[in-house]
Symmetry: C2
Subunit: 363 residues, 2 copies
C-alpha cells in the first residue's frame, strides 16, 4: 500500500498518527507511519522544546510533525487572570455542584489546580511554532484551519509542510488558497473538535474541491485497515488517525480512562462544547450528560470553557471512575477492545488494508 503521501513525507505507510503523547508519536514514526505531536497541552514552550529534543532522538531519524491549535479568527488573548473574570459565577457554581453530585473528590492537599490549557491562546500557539521550527520537524498541522500567513511562510522557508484540518469543502479550498500544503478532511465521527459532515461525504468533496495536486488525508472513523482502504477509495492519499492510539501501551492511560475506552461502544460518544467551548466529540458519560440536564448552563466560548472546567478535568481524571473521565475520542472507540503496542496496531492496520485492497481487486 504505497501512495504519493509516502514519497512526500518519506514514510513507509500512508498513515499519519496524531497523539498528545510523545511516546506514541515516536512509536508511530518508528513503525513506518508519520507521528504528529499534539502541542496544545504545553503551556510552557521550554517543556515542548525538551519533548521535541527527546523525539529527535527517539524517532531514530524517522520524520515526525507537530500539531498546534491556532484559531484563524479572533485570537483570544489576555492574561489568565483577565480571562478568569469573564467566567460567570453561575457557571462556576454549576461545575462545583456537578462534581459534588458525581462524587468526584477534591485534589489532594497542596496540589495546584493547574492553569488550564492555554495552548488555545494565539501567543502560546505561536511559541509552539517557534520551538518546532528549531527542531527537524517535517510538518506543522493546525487543528483550526490555516495558520497565519507569516507562520506558513516561515515553515515553507525552512522546507516544512503545512497541514490544516477542514470540516467543509469550502474551508479546504480556502486553506489551500492560504498556502496550506496538505488538507486533513475531518468528518463528524472524529474525536475532538469536529464538524457535522461525515467522512463518507466529506472526503470526496474535499478531494474534488482542492484538485489533484493537493494531498488530502481522511480523518474521522479510521481505526482499521478496511477503513483505510475506504478512505483511499474516497480519493484520500492517506489517513490521519487520532483516537486509535489511545488504546496503545505507549499511551499509558490511567486505569479509569483505559477502562472507559475499553467499555465504550461506538454509540458512547457525544459531540459537545463542554470540553473547550467548540464542538468536540467526547466520551459520553455522567460528566457530559450533566451538561445536558435542563438546569445546566450553555458552555462558554473558547478559551473560557476550558479555563472553567480545567480544575474539574483534573479532578475527574484523578477520580479513578471510568464513568466520569473527560476525554475527546471518536466513534471508533467501539473497536478499542484490547491494549496493544503501537507497532502491533500498525502491523494490523497495514495487513488488513492490504488484504482489503486485494479483495476489492477481485471484484
Amino acid at each position: 500500500m504505497h501512495t504519493a503521501l509516502c514519497d512526500l513525507l518519506g514514510i513507509e505507510h500512508p498513515i499519519v498518527g496524531f497523539s498528545p503523547s510523545e511516546r506514541v508519536v515516536a512509536a508511530i514514526s518508528r513503525a513506518g507511519g508519520f507521528g504528529v505531536l499534539g502541542c496544545v497541552r504545553f503551556n510552557d514552550a521550554d517543556e515542548l522544546d525538551a519533548v521535541l529534543s527527546w523525539l529527535d532522538t527517539e524517532t531514530g531519524g524517522r520524520p515526525y510533525g507537530v500539531d498546534v491549535v491556532m484559531p484563524t479568527h479572533g485570537p483570544a488573548e489576555g492574561k489568565h487572570v483577565d480571562l478568569d473574570k469573564l467566567i460567570p459565577d453561575g457557571h462556576r457554581d454549576f461545575v462545583q455542584r456537578t462534581l459534588l453530585k458525581l462524587g468526584v473528590p477534591p485534589l489532594p492537599d497542596g496540589e495546584s489546580t493547574g492553569d488550564g490549557v492555554l495552548g488555545w491562546l494565539h501567543s502560546i500557539a505561536r511559541s509552539h511554532v517557534e520551538v518546532a521550527l528549531s527542531h527537524p520537524v517535517r510538518l506543522i498541522a493546525n487543528a483550526l484551519g490555516p495558520p497565519p500567513p507569516d507562520v506558513i511562510d516561515a515553515a515553507h522557508e525552512r522546507g516544512l509542510l503545512v497541514a490544516a484540518l477542514a470540516g467543509r469543502a469550502t474551508h479546504a479550498r480556502s486553506h489551500v488558497a492560504s498556502g496550506v500544503d496538505i488538507v486533513v478532511a475531518q468528518g463528524y465521527e472524529a474525536g475532538g473538535h469536529t464538524g457535522e459532515i461525515a467522512s463518507m461525504v466529506l472526503v470526496p468533496e474535499v478531494v474534488d474541491a482542492v484538485g489533484e495536486g493537493v494531498p488530502v488525508l481522511a480523518a474521522g472513523g479510521i481505526g482499521s485497515g478496511r477503513q483505510i482502504a475506504a478512505a483511499l477509495a474516497l480519493g484520500a492519499t492517506g489517513v490521519w488517525m487520532g483516537s486509535a492510539w489511545l488504546g496503545t501501551e505507549e499511551y499509558q492511560a490511567q486505569p479509569a480512562l483505559r477502562q472507559a475506552l475499553l467499555d465504550a461502544t461506538s454509540a458512547d460518544t457525544v459531540r459537545s462544547r463542554v470540553y473547550s467551548g467548540k464542538p468536540a466529540r467526547l466520551l459520553r458519560n455522567r460528566w457530559t450528560e450533566a451538561w445536558s440536564e435542563p438546569e445546566a448552563p450553555a458552555p462558554l466560548p473558547m478559551p473560557l470553557q476550558n479555563l472553567l472546567v480545567s480544575e474539574a478535568h483534573n479532578r475527574l481524571m484523578r477520580a479513578g471512575d471510568p464513568t466520569v473521565v473527560p476525554m475527546p475520542v471518536g466513534q471508533i472507540v467501539g473497536r478499542m477492545n484490547e491494549v496493544r503496542p503501537v507497532a502491533d496496531v500498525m502491523t494490523a492496520l497495514v495487513a488488513e488494508a492490504t488484504e482489503t485492497l486485494k479483495r476489492l481487486s477481485a471484484l
Copy 2:
C-alpha cells in the same frame, strides 16, 4: 463490479435504490440495479396495489422490492380522529403561527388538507405487506427494524427476502436473530430516519456483528462510485441509496423542491424530529430552523408529529418557495448539481466505482 448480492437478487450491479416514486423504482430495476418502492405514503392499500401492478409491467421482469415502516415496539393504533385528540393546542398554534411568519399561503379553496401519512400505523403497514405478497416482489424491507415474526414467516414462505435497516451493530445482530436476511447498515449521514453513528464506523461494525453469511448493504453517504467502492472496502456486499434519486428526471420533483436540492450543500441538512417524531435527516431551511427557535415546542412522538404537520407539509410543498420545502434527504445532497435520467446516474455510478476499484488495485 460483481458481488454476492448480484446473485442473491438476480441483478447486474450491487446497487439497491429506494424511492417513494414508482417511476424511479422501475428505472432503477431496468438499469440493472434493484428498485425498492417506499410504501409509507399509501394510506390506501388499493392504491398501492395499482402501483405494484404498474411496476410488474414497467420493470420488464426485472426484480424489485418494497419498503414498509413497521415499528417493532409499541405499534401506535387508533383511528385518525382519536390520535388527533392527543395533539396539544399549543403545538397546533405554533404550526399556524410559523406558516404565517414564513409567508406560506393556505391551500386553494375546497382542497382537502389530507389525512397525513398513516403508513406509520401498524395496521396500514400490514396492509402494505399483504398487498406486496400478492405481487412478484423479491424483497420486503422494514425501515424501523425487523417486521413481526409472522410477516417474516409469510415472506419466507413465498420465497421473498426480508431486509431491515439498522443504525447500531447490536440492532443488526437482533434483526438477524429475528430472521432478517439482509441488513441495511444506515449511517448518520443518511436522509430520513437515521441514527448517530456514521457509515465509516457503522458498516464494518455491522458486517462483523452479523458474520459472513449475512449480506450487509451500506446506506448513508452513498451518492457516487467512489462511495460505492468505499462501502465495499468496509465489507458491505452492496449499497442502499435513497437521496441520490431525488435528483433524477423520473422523480419529477416540483420546481421549488428541485431548486432546493440543487442549491443545498452537504452542510444544509439537519437531523431533527420535526418531520415524523423520530430523528430524521432533512433539508435544513426556514421551516426546520423555526423549530429550533427558543419558543418552539418539542416535536411530538411518532405518529402524532406527522399528523400535526401534515397540512403544513402540504402547504409548504405547494408554496413554490425553495427555502421552506419539507424534505428528507442525506448529506450527499451537496453533490446533486444536475437533473439526469436514472439510467445515466446508474451508468456513472458503475463507471466511477469500477474505475476506483482499478485505481485501488494499483496501490
